[in-house]
Symmetry: C2
Subunit: 318 residues, 2 copies
């Protein structure tokens, strides 16, 4: 029998699945010590101190994708497996990204805001189509591939930068990969960010890269430049985005993630052509259900002696 | 040489095309009398009186689709051809509809509004995916077919009501047509309106039809019910929509068109789960460009003696 602490909530059906398999689940643990595994989302910070305070832990389960709230080095040194549920939220983030893109190029947030104020701003809200434009991906993993399929259905051309992906995978999805990330900015009027936050990707989208964007679509339409990120705060330089919106280098920017969350006194949020959401890319009933089920299965397997497939700190297995 | 009055604007390139072909174009006519053709959008109302006051007119060109601002009977009696540009705005309305749908199920307008107020409402904004749900079309013409292709890419199942469409056309698009419009409401958690406004379709979406919607998606997810219309005001009973949003029968409603435009003191616009836009479904650079080009070609052909393909009042040809 495994002892599982759940600190940031878990789908009811998944908790039941674990209990039905004979495991103990505590949804309101006061300390992590004495537990074999802890299931967290993004709110719990598994720092080196938190890890040292729970010597019984054998597994940290991240119900979701990003593990930037976990000190991976400390976990590895302590011999603790860190696992996530990488595929569960993919489709939710895909729909969110396309939603933000379409809403941005058609001014939907502004339209709604104006209508509520009693203003009929039909003439001011001329937009552009996604069709006929180039979409550039920063990172071309699972989420980008899903966004790419939808974007192709709208008639977009796909370009990407991803030094870790085999060219054939991108080719099979109809996406041209470029060795130089700046070539993606030079070619594309629309940029979607879907990579991890690392030292390499920090402020990868900045004043210099944004200034390369062409403003004129591949179809010759003066659609301006558009940026969307539902990945992680910190990849996009928010100060540079504000300047670019003010100067017209960017026509719109939609962010679901921020350098500081919640953002405080961030003037970017007040720009009329900014569209924001509070890190809800995976916040759907469907994704939460799939994440819970994937985590429950992972833990049940782990307690039965199986090494989970989604171990993030593979060095711990050596 | 033809004399063309343009009352609501026209793409520059299209005006040039007409002038290059030797025709006279007046962009600020003081009267329509003396002109062979008038090009209008939705702002100009071609009433029986307006038609009687311009005995020289042979053609009314509607740069766009809907002809509800033209007295067709009066035009037919006066022997005036009424033509529109039916295909030019299709893709723009398709992208708008999908944008509104995705924005609605993910609360994008609310998210943006909250962020601007300094509220981080991540927990309150749990949404649902389009994937796995049924989308019901009221009318399954060109626009619905385009929306259907995109919706299928997101994993939706298509149903529709269209008494004027051959079953095979819908079948070829993977959409099941139903004889009874209420069956579409009974089956579908998501409804998209894409038909003309006629006596038959006035308030076709009403309290009774909305009450039939299932709230539970085809995939078993409690996604609620969602309505979007980028067609014409008057097909959707706005008072019924407000009541349905208040009672929870509808989880969201997005409207680009209204019974009265601009809407005045409409309490619907203030509901938190309402997403509005000011009739901008075709308001893209691409659609306006295509509309202008299609209208210019139509007029050039007409002045050369060809009957346009898009004559709306075909009785005038008898």
């Amino acid at each position: 029998m495994g002892r599982v602490a759940v600190t940031d909530g878990m789908a009811e059906s998944a908790v039941q699945q674990l209990r039905d398999a004979g495991h103990h689940v505590d949804l309101e643990p006061t300390s992590l010590d004495g537990f074999d595994a802890v299931v967290i989302r993004s709110a719990t910070k598994m720092t080196a101190d938190a890890i040292a305070a729970a010597p019984s832990l054998k597994l940290i389960g991240r119900a979701g994708v990003g593990v930037d709230n976990i000190d991976l080095e400390a976990a590895t040194e302590a011999g603790i497996l860190v696992c996530n549920t990488p595929g569960s939220s993919t489709h939710s983030v895909v729909e969110m990204t396309i939603g933000h893109l379409l809403a941005s190029v058609r001014h939907l947030a502004t339209a709604d805001r104006d209508l509520r104020k009693g203003a009929w701003t039909k003439k001011a809200l001329k937009g552009t189509e996604l069709s006929g434009k180039r979409l550039g991906f920063i990172g071309f993993g699972r989420i980008s591939q899903g966004v790419g399929r939808a974007a192709k259905a709208f008639g977009m051309e796909l370009h990407g930068f991803d030094p870790y992906l085999p060219l054939e995978v991108a080719e099979a999805e109809g996406c041209t990969l470029h060795d130089d990330v700046n070539d993606v900015f030079r070619l594309c009027t629309h940029i979607a960010v879907h990579c991890n936050l690392t030292d390499e990707t920090h402020h990868l989208v900045n004043a210099s890269s944004l200034s390369l964007m062409p403003s004129i679509g591949a179809d010759g339409v003066a659609c301006g430049n558009h940026l969307v990120s539902c990945a992680r705060g910190g990849i996009v330089d928010e100060a540079a985005v504000l300047t670019a919106l003010e100067s017209g280098v960017l026509t719109s920017c939609a962010l679901d993630v921020f350098e500081v969350e919640p953002p405080t006194d961030n003037p970017l949020l007040q720009h009329p052509n900014f569209h924001g959401s509070p890190h809800i890319g995976a916040a759907t009933l469907e994704a939460q259900g799939r994440i819970g089920a994937e985590m429950a299965e992972l833990l049940i397997g782990f307690f039965a002696g199986t090494t989970p497939r989604s171990v993030v700190n593979r060095a711990v297995l050596d």
